[in-house]
């Protein structure tokens, strides 16, 4: 009887293993992290260095942007003039569709157009494909890290990839959703053409908009109260004539708890009305506004848009787990539970450190006034700290604070969806600034300076004084070599954070040398899956069990054949 019990036990364990094995096979092939250790340069030669210079294109003044990956100035010119007014050679140097931004009809005769049509599409980045296990239309937030995103994007033309050989997304398709700028009093039609496979809408958070448009159709973007879904292949026009200026938001209002986190949120800035005020309709990738509005230039030398957002990798993996929208919908809408979720990646303008250093630096000179517009698009509180500077909060949620009551401080806390307009002054007076340098600014909720818990990562970037910019506009850093962070191995936790801290690597991995030797010997790292260990252990245990229960016979055989006696 006891013996039978043992057998059933063994059978049970075997079955359990089989189930484990199957279960281990099933989960989404969500590994959005790129293969082996790959080092990247600080500044890859992706974009022409001339793009960084101050220039005039089609009569549009474009400020300089001294970072490794500047915005395409031709696209900036098209954003300012409209794709219907910009010259053909300029338009051809962008990837914009001809009907992307229409600007016309100077109704009040003040020298700028007052009727604006803005076309938006919805793009999926790092999505799945039935033809490959690798993500497609890729966008890396940090070395080797490519979570799936959904973003609003300007209407583009041609391929969705950088070129015909690349899987990298067209540079206009990126995180965050582009900042939209309009002028106070303009009649703006925002046309959402839903190129995605799920329904979406646009809600204009904080922007003056009527509940219904002239035709009586819903204008608030809420599918439950104002209008239905915009289905794949469909479109809707949102019509507004905003009376109040300010830093606002636009975001999708379908399954908002997931669609917003997937990236369907961007800043919507209404600029104060001024004569001859051609505003830069899109700021793709946020960051520096290379053609600030008249009102901003009256008071500031430069302007930056800073969008903070976060990624729960479990949510973003769902999109990469299937090609069937019904399966994705099921996993996202019914199986995923936001109340059990935690955020893992933290982005400033779509990237995490060290990639933030390539495009989200605030490059200043002494005695400047810089306008920063910040949005917290994360799910939780944000507390941005600026090293070396104390800035003044001029606006909360787009509304100006009584100048006498404005607060100057060094921590800027923002609830989700909140906006702050800051005045950053670079006057070296010991209060506003302590002098030139490379001053980092980052979230002081410390998980925000990590990438899935690895530090340094997250939304760290820097305010860099021009005197601290070196060759190729790379900041003249005085600390340790940053190349270790431009390595996929670092964020896969395969590298000791303090590796080679001194000559004898006193704080490296205890077995680093041996592991390295083994790795170079057999060419690749051996897989150390805990499941494999478990299975091997169970198999050995099972063999031992058989041996033990047949020990008498075993001894007989051993004596007979090995020792040669009966």
């Amino acid at each position: 009887m006891q013996r039978r019990g043992k057998i059933y036990g063994a059978v049970g364990i075997l079955l359990f293993c089989a189930v484990l094995d199957v279960a281990a096979d099933i989960p989404p092939p969500s590994v959005s992290e790129v293969g082996k250790s790959a080092k990247e340069p600080f500044c890859p030669p992706e974009r022409p260095a001339e793009w960084r210079d101050a220039q005039k294109i089609d009569g549009v003044e474009i400020q300089e942007e001294r970072v490794c990956l500047p915005d395409n100035p031709y696209a900036v010119a098209a954003f300012v003039k409209g794709t219907n007014n910009v010259s053909m050679p300029t338009l051809m140097k962008t990837r914009l569709a001809a009907d992307s931004i229409i600007k016309r009809n100077d109704r009040d005769g003040d020298g700028d157009p007052d009727e604006i049509i803005i076309k938006l599409e919805v793009a999926e980045l790092n999505g799945a494909s039935p033809d490959t296990t690798e993500p497609v239309h890729t966008f890396a937030i940090a070395p080797g890290i490519r979570p799936a995103f959904w973003v609003f994007a300007p209407k583009v033309r041609g391929m969705a990839t950088k070129d015909e050989h690349s899987t990298e997304a067209n540079p206009l398709l990126r995180v965050p959703s582009p900042v939209i700028r309009v002028e106070q009093g303009d009649t703006v039609r925002i046309v959402l053409e839903n190129t995605h496979y799920f329904p979406h809408t646009i809600h204009l958070h904080g922007v003056d908009h009527p509940f219904v448009d002239a035709k009586g159709e819903g204008n608030d973007g809420v599918p439950q109260t104002s209008e239905g879904f915009i289905l794949p292949g469909g479109k809707r026009v949102y019509e507004i004539t905003p009376r109040q200026p300010g830093t606002m938001i636009y975001h999708c209002h379908v399954q908002t708890h997931t669609h917003l986190a997937m990236g369907l949120i961007g800043m919507f800035v209404v600029e104060e009305n001024r004569p001859d005020n051609w505003v830069q309709t899109f700021n793709v990738g946020a960051g520096k506004v290379r053609h600030p509005s008249r009102a901003v230039l009256e008071r500031y030398d430069q302007e930056y848009d800073l969008q903070y957002q976060a990624v729960d990798k479990e949510l973003h993996e769902i999109v990469q787990s299937s090609n069937d929208p019904r399966v994705i919908a099921r996993r996202m809408n019914r199986e995923y539970d936001l109340t059990d979720a935690t955020e893992d990646y933290f982005l400033l303008n779509g990237r995490s450190f060290p990639y933030t250093l390539r495009e989200s630096l605030i490059v200043v000179e002494p005695d400047q006034n810089v306008k920063l517009r910040m949005l917290n698009a994360q799910g939780e509180l944000l507390a941005v700290h600026t090293h070396g500077h104390k800035a003044t909060i001029t606006h909360y949620d787009g509304i100006e604070v009584n100048p006498a009551a404005q607060i100057t401080r060094d921590i800027f806390d923002m609830a989700p969806a909140q906006r702050l307009d800051l005045k950053l002054t670079t006057t070296n007076d010991g209060l506003h600034n302590y002098g030139p340098g490379i001053w980092v600014f980052h979230d002081h909720v410390e998980r925000g300076i990590t990438t899935d818990g690895m530090n340094p990562g997250g939304n760290i970037s820097a305010i860099v004084y021009k005197s601290y910019l070196g060759a190729d506009d790379v900041p003249k850093l005085q600390g340790i070599d940053l190349s270790r962070y431009f390595d996929t191995a670092f964020y896969r936790r395969q590298m000791p954070v303090w590796q080679d801290i001194d000559e004898w690597d006193s704080l490296g991995d205890p077995d680093a040398r041996q592991a390295e030797a083994a790795e170079s010997a057999d060419g690749e790292t051996r897989k150390r899956s805990p499941l494999r260990h478990l299975l091997l252990g169970l198999l050995l245990g099972f063999l031992a069990y058989i041996l033990f229960t047949n020990r008498e016979r075993g001894r007989e055989l051993f004596c007979q054949y090995v020792l040669g006696r009966k």
Binding site: I7, P29, D99, A128, P130, V136, A160, A169, P232, R326
Partner: protein, 213 residues
Amino acid sequence: MIRILAWILLWLPVAALPGHRMDMDSMVMNENPTRLPQGCAEIAGDRTITVRAGRKYAKPFPGVVFAYDRQSWEVAPCTRLTVRFINEDHIRHQFMVHGLPPDLYPMGMFTIEVSGPGEETASFILPPYKKTYLVHCDIAQHTEHGMKAQLKVAGGDGDLASLPGLTKPVRPDRYPSRWTGRSLLLLALALFAGMALIWLGRWLIRAMTEDRP
């Protein structure tokens, strides 16, 4: 008047790019109705196909979102193919062919893009050799969700994967299992059968190893 003239002048350079056309409604890239690909002595014949694109063409294929009304076309070598491309959605769609000789078709592509409901027509000449060309809409996730087809010249050199209703995907989807009374019963049966097998195996081993008087 001056504005219109200036506008025309500004847009003129598009006409200067051979085979390129672009306006507010559509775009054609690498149109080629005259130049012969290498190996074609003459245009073998003219053929026109009408291709419709839209969400509604995905209806017959569960799990597909966007599609063309057909997934495969066959044409003879050196044919001048005229494509009338009709977009029935309110978004952009493309008819993009890859793998053409790059000397005639920069980047090996021929593209018609229609920016909303509407249509555009353009032609190109196919090379003489036996080949299957990829036709797709290169808007993010349109190919992946069904807007993919093939164009076979001289019978083609095989079929492409994941064409709705025609070929299997390279990476098929895994679907969650549905637990019904029947499948549970089957599972229980399989469990018992498995146990019985193991018991039988053990009995056999014992029968072989144990000494019998």
